[in-house]
């Protein structure tokens, strides 16, 4: 029943994955297994992104209700709320009250951004090293301890609750931050373009050519110029605004790459070594990258995008590629 409603609603995973939610639910529901699990990913860790923080602060009961719906619908034995340290400290007591007697457990995520990646969550809860796994098998078939597992993020469970109540308005939460007058989290239609979103929240500053934007998170988000804002956001709904006059793109990139190098798991060559070399080249760039540097960077972007082991690497090239193209 709820799966049908999810299908009707067209709800897509709000972690940035964009995967139709009903498909995941159906996959886990239809597999027969002696145990199944549900995980609510509340590990938000991208720099400058605080959308889940907002939802937890304001809509905790709705989120837990969404998790309970999942437990029931797919016949799972246990659900885990996978919380980053801050969330864990802040909401532990409230959550325990809301959970009551349901088979829902709280799990405190170890530090590190990667620990929020789907398959890394599995390893972590199982008590192994925080590392993504090779997919397939997908968690929906073989997740926690090899059992079918449904992983959705906080916002997704919030909307599940709304859909179940017939209150879904095709909105989503937008997180706006950076050099802007009205940063914050806003609920607006999912069809809104970036420009509409900025205008509606009075964050659209003029002259627009003075600004550039990072969409999709503070480390792996893509760089857009003011001429590229007439599109809705597909992935993680985060908009970070930068003032061209105040920012040096090379310095910005150095910050990103150092963050990513610290956060990745070092398993696969393109991500472990590629990021290291991006950093090395960034340190060498005087004002503008040379032809040779550009060629090397482009080769590295290529292997990151197309041959990394996990989604972390697949997207890690994006901010650099777009920043270099558009800002240098």
């Amino acid at each position: 029943m709820i799966i049908e409603q999810l299908k009707q609603s067209g709800l897509l995973g709000r972690s940035g994955s964009n995967f139709p939610v009903w498909k995941k639910w159906e996959a886990v529901k239809n597999i027969s297994a002696d145990k199944k699990f549900v995980i609510c990913n509340a590990s938000e860790g991208e720099p400058e992104v605080f959308k889940d923080a907002f939802i937890l602060e304001n809509y905790l009961p709705e989120v837990i209700d969404g998790v309970k719906i999942a437990l029931q619908e797919i016949g799972a034995s246990t659900a885990y709320i996978y919380l980053n340290k801050n969330f864990y400290l802040k909401y532990k007591n409230k959550l325990l009250q809301l959970i009551e007697n349901s088979p829902i457990e709280l799990f405190e995520k170890p530090s590190g951004y990667l620990a929020g990646e789907e398959t890394a969550i599995l390893s972590t809860i199982e008590g192994r090293r925080v590392e993504p796994r090779i997919k397939p098998p997908f968690p929906t078939e073989k997740g926690l301890w090899g059992k079918p597992t449904l992983i959705n993020n906080v916002e997704t469970f919030y909307w599940v609750n709304k859909i179940a109540k017939g209150e879904y308005s095709h909105n989503r939460f937008y997180c706006i931050s950076g050099d802007t007058p009205n940063p914050g989290v806003y609920e607006l239609p999912e069809t809104f373009t970036i420009k509409q979103t900025l205008e509606r929240t009075t964050n659209y500053q003029l002259p627009a050519t003075n600004y550039f934007y990072q969409i999709g998170g503070g480390a792996v988000g893509e760089i857009l110029l003011d001429t590229e804002l007439s599109q809705p956001i597909k992935g993680l709904a985060s908009i970070i605004i930068f003032n061209k006059e105040k920012e040096n793109p090379i310095d910005l990139m150095k910050n990103w790459v150092q963050f990513l190098m610290l956060q990745n798991c070092d398993q696969c060559a393109p991500c472990r070594e590629g990021l290291y070399r991006i950093n090395e080249i960034l340190q060498q760039i005087k004002e503008k990258p040379t032809e040779e540097q550009l060629k090397t960077l482009s080769d590295i972007f290529d292997v990151l995008e197309k041959s990394s082991l996990c989604p972390f690497g697949h997207t890690a090239y994006l901010p650099f590629k777009t920043a270099i193209e558009k800002l240098t």
Partner: protein, 563 residues
């Protein structure tokens, strides 16, 4: 069965196989580096990329399970370029020191560089100042060569040791030895590292040392498993038997005498068989476990000390033979034992540690001696031969010297997992007058990790197990902890397949190769007239002339391990 295509070729295949497996079965080449068939696919080097129709990005063949209808392409410009960049990135974290590398003659990494047209010095060496770390007297880890594939971590975990860990992150995780655990010196990390970051201690620097003892009588002895493996270093097919060329080549190197450790194995067998015979006579036989493998012994000492009393007291073959060389043989030849320098050629890096254990010493006429003065691994001997321009393939075949040159067949199969047990049982049966066929316990042969059998004499049954890999040994020890009567005799070799898969053996080494090396040893056994240690006339002679009383037998052939 499902159907897929690789490079437009239709292939019928079973489910649950990886693209790489199927490609290899069909002789379709896909470059690989980090994949080792003994281990799970970590898919970290990202070189085995293939394109699959309908899937956006290339996938790694070593880790991707085929699905019905998959259309796979193993070569195209896009994947060629990705492979090349990834290989260049990998080389950037690997300090090339090719002239003294265990993979010198067989380096997949360099072969790939050529094949993929990679510029191996496109980037500076990230790890150029990384240290080399010694693990006891056996293993060296040169972290400046490591490409972080983590094969060694897995293999060490499979050994139930876990000495190698992925160490704390300070911008990079890296392989580090555990501060709390102990390495058992099995050298399986050497055998499973794709880029030669591990090697035996002094694998290159000191191998000529034994040859420098000019004023000594230089005696070489070679282990059972060498004869079917060292040929690989000279481009012979896997499993080529080179016993007599080997003797010739070692003589050419300058050894005065060359003996066969398989004869020593006959002595070990005989001593262990006597203990087994006791078990057949006893009503409540206790547990006896083999002692030839130093890594296994160390595993028990470090991780299961309560089983130390169960380890056989018989010394390992080359130790007994070393002792006999310095006593019996020395006095026959009228040489002072102090003038003899014994070098063991071993499949094993743990033997370097074994020879310095005080438990191996023996006392003779009031003086204490080390039976063996130096250990060279199979690889080290091959390297030394090559360095001296000696081609094993062209060496003049020669028989090993008397009186320790002609082993029984059972002394030769010592090199394969199950061989020690089979030999001991053959001789025990012989002593008890119940011996009929050489293959009394054939079911403990082979590459399986745990092999069990029962031996029956006059209605009395002994349960025996032959185990290879300390991970499998752990399983058996845990069972024995719960149920002490489960087995009466257990053979354990730390390395996969036994010493034919030892950490000092030629590289690469995988199950197919180990099977061939082992088969060759069983072939030699088949050809031998004497199949039991008991019947080896040289052995009988030594017992008659020298090992005449318990005291001297104890000195030369036995030891005691304690906590």
């Amino acid at each position: 069965m499902i159907q897929i295509t690789i490079n437009n070729k239709k292939i019928e295949t079973e489910k649950d196989k990886t693209i790489l497996e199927i490609a290899r079965e069909n002789n379709i080449y896909i470059p690989t580096l980090c994949f080792h068939s003994d281990l799970t696919a970590h898919a970290s080097c990202r070189l085995c990329l293939v394109s699959i129709k309908g899937i956006n990005n290339p996938q790694t063949a070593c880790s991707t399970i085929v699905e019905n209808g998959m259309e796979i392409e193993t070569e195209n410009p896009e994947i060629a370029k990705l492979r090349k960049t990834n290989l260049e990135l990998l080389f950037a974290q690997h300090k090339e020191e090719c002239s003294d590398c265990v993979l010198l003659y067989n380096c997949q990494f360099l072969k790939l560089a050529k094949e993929l047209n990679a510029n191996i010095s496109r980037f500076s060496d990230r790890k150029k100042d990384f240290p080399a770390i010694e693990f006891g007297p056996s293993v060296v880890f040169d972290s400046s060569k490591c490409i972080d594939c983590r094969n060694c971590v897995e293999v060490c975990q499979n050994q139930a040791v876990g000495y190698l860990e992925v160490g704390g992150k300070d911008s990079f995780y890296q392989i580090t030895p555990s501060p709390t655990k102990s390495c058992i010196y099995c050298g399986q990390c050497i055998a499973h590292c794709p880029v030669g970051a591990f090697e035996a201690k002094s694998e290159f620097e000191q191998i000529e040392e034994p040859l420098n003892n000019k004023n000594k009588i230089l005696v070489f002895q070679f282990a059972p498993s060498i004869r079917s493996s060292i040929g690989e270093e000279f481009e012979m097919p896997h499993g080529t038997i080179v016993t007599e060329q080997l003797v010739g080549a070692i003589k050419q190197l300058g050894a005065d005498y060359v003996f066969d450790v398989s004869v020593g194995a006959d002595f070990t067998t005989f001593e262990e068989a006597k203990e087994i015979v006791e078990k057949f006579k006893s009503n409540k036989p206790s547990l006896l476990m083999s002692s030839c493998c130093p890594s296994w012994v160390r595993f028990v000492e470090k991780y299961y000390p309560e089983f130390i009393p169960n380890i056989a007291t018989a010394k390992p073959p080359h130790i007994i033979l070393g002792g006999l060389i310095k006593t019996y043989w020395a006095s026959c030849e009228k040489i002072s034992p102090k003038k003899i320098f014994v070098v063991s050629v071993m499949p094993c890096v743990a033997k370097k540690y074994e020879i310095v254990r005080k438990e191996m010493l023996f006392k003779y006429n009031g003086t204490s001696y080390a039976p063996v003065d130096y250990v060279l691994t199979t690889r080290e001997l091959a390297y030394l031969l090559k360095k001296r321009g000696i081609d094993l393939a062209k060496a003049k075949p020669q028989k090993a010297d008397n009186p320790f040159g002609d082993p029984s067949g059972s002394g030769v199969i010592y090199g394969a997992s199950g061989g020690v047990m089979e030999s001991a049982i053959r001789t025990a049966l012989k002593i008890l007058g119940a011996y009929s066929a050489p293959s009394a316990v054939k079911s403990i042969r082979g590459q399986e990790g745990i092999k069990v059998s029962q031996v029956e004499i006059n209605g009395k049954i002994l349960n025996v197990a032959a185990v290879n890999g300390t991970g499998n040994a752990k399983i058996i020890l845990e069972q024995l902890r719960k149920n002490p009567g489960l087995y009466q005799c257990v053979e354990v070799m730390a390395c996969p397949g036994g010493c034919i898969g030892g950490g000092g053996q030629p590289l690469p080494n995988d199950k197919t190769i180990r099977t061939k090396r082992a088969q060759a040893l069983y072939d030699i056994d088949e050809q031998k007239k004497v199949r039991t240690a008991f019947d080896n006339p040289d052995l009988q002679k030594v017992y008659k002339e020298f090992l005449k009383n318990e005291k001297i037998i104890k000195q030369i052939c036995h030891t005691k391990y304690s906590l």
